[in-house]
Assembly symmetry: C2
Homo-oligomer: 93 residues x 2
DNA sequence: TGTATATTTAGATAAGTATCTAAATAATGT
DNA sequence: ACATTATTTAGATACTTATCTAAATATACA
C-alpha cells in the first residue's frame, strides 16, 4: 500500500469528487469529464494520480475506459486514519 | 470542519510524522523540531498547517508552546474517509 | 531593563502540481 | 486502409508549497 500516494491523491478536491461520483457506479473517462469544467486531458491526469494510489480500477470496454472504485483500499485507508489518530496509551497488545 | 484543510494537512509525510509523535503525548515545538532535520522555522510552518486543520491544539507553558493531538477531529476524519468510500447502494436511509 | 531562550513571521527560492493545447495511441465502422 | 471517436501523453505555464535565512515577538530571569 502506497501511503503517500493515497494521501496525495485525496488532497485534491476534484479527485475526491471523482471518487464520490464513482460511488454511484462505474463511469467512463468521458462521462466523468463531462461533469467537470476541465479539459479531458486534465481529468486524465487526475485519473492517473488516483490509479497510482490504487484508489480506482480501469477496464477498457470498446473505445471507452471504464473507471470504478477500488473498494479494497478502503480498509487500508481506514487503517491509515486509525493509525494516525489512535492514542498510544489505548493500544492493547 | 474544514475538509480541504484536513486532507491538505495529511498530504505531507512530515506532518503525518508529527501527528504520530503526538500520539505518545504532548510535545513542545522545540522537542518536535529536534526529531527532524529541518529548521525550527520550517517545522513551525507545518505546525501552522496542522493548526488550520484543527488537527492539533496548542498551549503556552512558560517559554514553550506545547502541541497535542486534537482527538475530537478523529471522528470527523473517520466520517470523511467512510464518506469517500462508502458504496452508494449500501446506504440505508 | 537587558540578555538569553523559544517560537513564529516575513521574504526569497526551488521544487512540485494543476491546467492548458497539441500531438499520439487505440478501437470502431466504412 | 481511412476517418471518427475516446482517451492518454508531452510539453509549456501558472500556481502552490516546502524549505531556508534573517528578523520579530514573547517569556523568563538576573
Amino acid at each position: 500500500m502506497k501511503q503517500q500516494a493515497i494521501f496525495r491523491a485525496l488532497a485534491d478536491p476534484s479527485r475526491r469528487r471523482i471518487l464520490k461520483l464513482l460511488q454511484k457506479g462505474s463511469m467512463t473517462a468521458g462521462e466523468l469529464a463531462h461533469t467537470f469544467d476541465f479539459t479531458q486531458a486534465s481529468l486524465s491526469h487526475h485519473f492517473a494520480v488516483l490509479k497510482v494510489a490504487d484508489l480506482v480500477c480501469t477496464e477498457r470496454r470498446g473505445q471507452n475506459i471504464v473507471y470504478s472504485l477500488n473498494s479494497t483500499v478502503f480498509e487500508d485507508m481506514a487503517r491509515l486514519v486509525m493509525d494516525l489518530f489512535a492514542v498510544q496509551e489505548e493500544r492493547k497488545k
